[in-house]
Amino acid sequence: MNEVKNPVLQIDKLCVSYGKVEALSNASITVGEGQIVTVIGPNGAGKTTMLSAIMGVLGSAGRVSFDGTIEAVPEVERMVARGMNLVPEKRELFGEMSIEDNLVLGAFQRYRMGHRDQARTMDEVFELFPRLKERRTQLAGTLSGGERQMLAVGRALMAKPRLLMLDEPSLGLAPLIVREIFRIVAELRRRGVSILLVEQNARAALQVADYAYVLETGQIAMQGPAHTLADDPRVIEAYLGLGGKHQAMLST
């Protein structure tokens, strides 16, 4: 069990099924305040499904408790309003809009609730991603893969989330960019954002995370502090391999 003093997110026996096929069964995980928790596992293990269910994009059975309040069935708009944010695997940017507009829309729910600090938050995001500032008027659809990922993360940060969920942030990116992304993940934790990170790049994810879960065919197969799991022979055999030390470099 991930024993933490202030859990931000606690999910208990979460189940999701597509018709008769159960994609996720009885998954229970905890993310503590200021923690990076990673969920690793092979393709099709149900990682994305789990994030979608927590966010309320998919229907689910079980209990999701966020920030101390239980949501029987999470609803996307409510979860965003309460400070949860998902950066999906597909990024889902607004391609025909400028970087600036994409960012401003990230703060839509905050604006609706009466907050008017978008300009300051945007400066903070630009500080984290100077590349985005240089291209602020460029259309999001014209960006490179790495810049898209930065924009997706920046857009989520505009909502000032308490919990940021990242779905495969390194997918399809060049090694140097992956390294940059993981450096930003670590930097975000320093700023007090709790992070739930779903990754196939297990080595880099375990390096940066505090606690880790291994998801296999819809079930939590293993869990433990990230550095312990990184030394576990089963994890090494299945996810890390023996010779691939260069991968760990990505998160340093």
Partner: protein, 345 residues
């Protein structure tokens, strides 16, 4: 045909074209955000014009009761949902907007000497009755089936159109109405007489189009609608709910429709079913823009207006045929020039 007649026809065409442009913009907007091909757009034109006519005739417009009825239904549905989820704090808002507003409006219409009010006030009241039906319509009809395929949405859209025309006949009767012009001024431009109402229509359309442009480019809610049109999932993850976007879109569409109706009521006689034909011409213009491009739709609308007025001079019996036939070469050209692009990841 001499120059004077040509100028007169052009003026007519431009005036109608301006209205078609507004309707085309509304159709493109509604389709982009909600994927609904909004056939009842024209009914809002008729409802707007005829509600104004009823107000001027000194009677309580039956549309006010329709508004109250729709509001009560929405209050029932949303109120029950809020109670079931234990969100009692939402209840006041639900009741206030859906029951309080229509009843307040009915009370206002009863108390005020509506018949003797200045025209501007009457127009505002007519809009206050008709425009809120847009978001209510979305809530009642389209929100429950928001994720249905486009074809289902189109079929439902046709059903709404038929229902609204039927209710129009019930509310307004079979006679046509014409409202007094906004201004009696006439301007002589060279050989041409330009009526004040023409100027009003052109100016109002232009102002409305510019206002819409500002709304979509500058305000966060406008950007949120554009974002929903571009990427529904992405917008949802930002907390822009499809229901909110849908209601806002239908509000804008209803506003455009009712305002168009109020603007043309002094130029043409409006019957309960006139809206459909006007809406269809806006639709032709929207198709010219591929249901996606606002500027092309606006240009298409002016083209439709001009074609209509000139064909009414040469072959008045065929003017609608000519306008609607325009859609065939446009569709041919579109299907030949656009390549189908697979959704790229």
């Amino acid at each position: 045909m001499d120059v004077q007649i040509a100028l007169m026809l052009a003026q007519d065409g431009l005036t109608n074209g301006a209205i078609y442009a507004l309707l085309a913009l509304a159709l493109v907007l509604v389709f982009a955000v909600t994927r609904v091909i909004f056939i009842p757009q024209g009914e809002f034109v008729a409802y707007g014009a005829l509600t104004l006519a009823m107000l001027q005739g000194g009677s309580m417009p039956a549309t006010a009761w329709l508004l109250a009825g729709m509001g009560a239904l929405v209050a029932l549905i949303d109120g029950a949902t809020a109670l079931r989820n234990g969100q009692t704090q939402k209840l006041a808002g639900v009741l206030g907007w859906n029951v309080g507003y229509p009843l307040g409006l009915v009370a206002l219409l009863t108390l005020l000497p509506v018949k003797d009010l200045p025209l501007v006030a009457q127009v505002v009241l007519a809009l206050a009755v008709v425009v809120p039906m847009g978001p209510l319509l979305y809530r009642l009809v389209f929100q429950p089936i928001a994720s249905a395929p486009v074809l289902i949405l189109l079929i439902v859209s046709v059903a709404v159109h038929v229902a609204m025309v039927g209710m129009g006949l019930l509310f307004f009767g079979a006679e046509g109405q014409r409202t007094p012009a906004f201004s009696d001024a006439n301007f002589e431009v060279g050989p041409l007489m330009v009526s004040g109402q023409t100027v009003w229509v052109l100016m109002a359309s232009l102002v409305l189009i510019l206002a819409l442009y500002q709304f979509f480019e500058r305000t966060l809610y406008g950007k949120a609608l554009r974002a929903t049109a571009i990427n529904r999932n992405g917008a949802r993850l930002m907390g822009i709910s499809p229901a909110l976007a849908g209601k806002l879109t239908f509000f804008v569409a209803a506003l455009i429709g009712a305002l168009s109706g109020v603007l043309i009521a002094p130029i043409t006689t409006i019957y309960y079913d006139t809206g459909f034909l006007i809406g269809l011409k806006g639709f032709v213009a929207a198709i010219i823009g591929g249901l996606a491009s606002y500027p092309l739709a606006a240009v298409g609308a002016v083209l439709v207006g001009l074609l209509e007025s000139f064909s009414s001079f040469w072959a008045s019996a065929f003017k609608d045929v000519i306008v609607f036939t325009l859609i065939i070469p446009v569709l041919m050209w579109r299907s030949l020039t656009t390549r189908h692009v697979e959704e790229e990841e």
